[in-house]
Amino acid sequence: MRFAVEALLAALLLGSAAAAAQAQSPAAPAQTAAEPAQTAAGEEAAGPAAAAGEEAGAGGWSMSADLEAGASLASSGFDPSSSDSAALWILTADFLHRYDGSGWGLVLSDSIDLSGLASAVAGTGGTDSLPAFTPAITIYEAYARLDMGNWGQIFVGKRRMGLGIGSVFAPGDLVDPRSGFWDQKTGFRGFDFAASLGSDFALRAALSLDRNFEAWAAGVRAKTATAASVAATSVTTSSATSALTAYPSAATAQSTSPTPGQIYSAALDGAAGPADPRLFTWAGSADAQLGSLQLSAAAVFRPGAVERPSLGFSYDLDGLIFQAEGAAEFSADGAASPTKPDWYGTAGLHWTIAGDSDNLSLALDYDYNGRPGLLDHSNYLLPWISYARTDVLDAYARALVGLENPSALLSLGLTLYPAQAFDLEFTGLFGLGSGDGEFATLSNFAPIPSPGAGRLSTQVGVDARVHF
């Protein structure tokens, strides 16, 4: 499907791609061929070469791609020999296509994942949950942009939108909530409007249809499961087993897990159907840039379920950057009420010490959750240290720390840049402490499945990446 989409996009853009490439090509080689004459004052006249193919600010099509190949070892313990463990080979390709036309644009950000199981070792938990090969195509973003003069844009499709200030924790963002603590590539599906009031004020409004799509998908799965269940009762036991293998969701229907019908009802959440406006999630925000101070006010609303306004700021104090954001949930859907809201908040500071080619960055963020929802714990810390030497290496250590029943996820990484378009990356992810809540498995955070029923504690990997 991705190839079809890309082929269509390529066909649409082919006409302007050549012009864009010409406009973006550096003028230097042409200039060398027709070296401009230099005057006595050292000035170079604008020769014929200077007039051709030099225009800055031209739009057009652009594409970048990252191809990644490597291996990863996941284990439910720190000693692979006595734990459930699995080795996986990693093969992925990430693409980012952009087209910027006059008054409109297209963006497609997608990924092909051909990673699979290389080998597995069964300890106490078994490895039956591991797929041997699971090719996957992920579309992170696919949207069209329509410009309204110089002041506004309408976006349609799947698009990332960070609501509020927070880059790590975003207590007010329920439209495109952070799916991981250090990775947020996937956008929400719907409509988005951005207005720029000069350079210092920005307004945004969004309508998310994610809940509608989820309800629709749950309905399709429920119908499929029902069909499989009916078929299963009219054939032999062995045939039924095959059907359940083909439709895993049908298997859950026979267990104590919620039935597909129940899942569909839950997804509808009282709505009459997938197109019911009660599943719409609305959001709006206003941002102001006042010198070194940035202010942000936002709100998310879904009828009868979510009412979450938030306020945040960030301030650059001579290189030390503070940011804080608070949100209150007034919805009657949970325990919260207009008179007794649930509170959420985050605060952090970032500092970078820079040399000519070295950068050392330190960051610390704190997050408070009044009620479990996006996160299971109430109090988190996220310390982060990174060092970069331009075009040589990049290294980081970061940890998500849960302060109740202390648990932590520690992430380490080292990327070497031996050539201009080639990276060599070493990563490690470790689970520490009691491991409850979101710390129960690393598989939520690592791009690999759990090696078995046991708790995943360790994942190490090495990857080679080529940029195009």
Partner: protein, 255 residues
């Protein structure tokens, strides 16, 4: 599309006119010289394409090409065109803040940076690349005239100004600027840290008529505390254009 030939013709006219109005005969003041430096290097509103090459001892030179949109009264928006590793990364430099957005990275929000930091590992600071005029941040004083040995132009009689930082937020403590006496074209700059240490030197050369502006097209910034380390910025294109204010809004960064 903008007609570059027409713009060049207009630019040449404006350049000639402004040259004739400059008080070069009557010993310009320090402020006149700093204003002339600003007008020689920057347009009020423009788009440009620049290639930056950094050389360090023992390492192969690294190159980066980026496209910028600037307004003197607002700031600069930059997007990296090459190399492939950093292609697509965008920067927004405003008064008091600097933002970076990487469409390929895992963050939906732009990341806030400090404008004092090095720009992409070069010997230029973020402020060097983003700033479109010196007179906002520096107070000039006349220094004795001198003759410099320019690597391209040979011996050149120069007027000299000491431009001291107006506030602690400026990237440098002082910049000494050498301008050609005949037309106030900047040819050399020396950058001092707030401690008073001279640590960078920039030579401006290859003066070129871009149509909208005639200015040095090559700027070689040398690090004096790291021998053999220098960055060369080559202005490949610069074009006068009315850049809308919305370009300097964070909405534009994440569009």
């Amino acid at each position: 599309m903008v007609n570059l030939r027409k713009i060049r013709a207009k630019g040449a006219m404006v350049g000639l006119l402004s040259l004739s109005l400059l008080p070069v005969a009557a010993s310009p003041s320090a402020s006149d010289i700093l204003s002339a430096v600003d007008s020689r290097l920057f347009l009020a509103s423009y788009v440009s394409r620049v290639t930056m090459e950094t050389t360090r001892p023992g390492s192969a030179p690294t190159s980066m090409t980026f496209e910028g949109q600037s307004r003197k009264d607002k700031g600069t928006y930059l997007e990296i065109l090459a190399p492939a590793r950093t292609k697509g990364i965008r920067f927004l430099q405003l008064e008091g803040s600097l933002w970076m957005f990487n469409p390929k990275a895992g963050s939906a929000n732009a990341l806030r940076l400090s404008s004092r930091d090095s720009f992409q590992g070069s010997t230029f600071s973020n402020a060097d690349v983003g700033k479109s005029q010196f007179s906002d941040d520096y107070s000039p004083e006349l220094a004795p005239e001198t003759t410099i040995e320019h690597p391209e132009l040979g011996k050149v009689d120069c007027l000299v100004i000491d431009a001291a930082a107006k506030s602690a937020e400026s990237a440098y403590g002082k910049i000494v600027i050498y301008v050609r006496k005949s037309d106030l074209m900047p040819l050399k700059m020396e950058y001092y840290a707030k401690s008073g240490l001279l640590f960078k030197r920039m030579i401006l050369s290859r003066i070129r008529d871009f149509g909208s502006i005639t200015r040095p097209s090559v700027m070689r910034m040398e690090s004096l505390d790291k021998e053999g380390t220098f960055t060369t910025l080559t202005m490949e294109a610069i074009e006068k254009r009315e850049v809308p204010l919305s370009v300097f809004n964070k909405n534009y960064l994440t569009r």
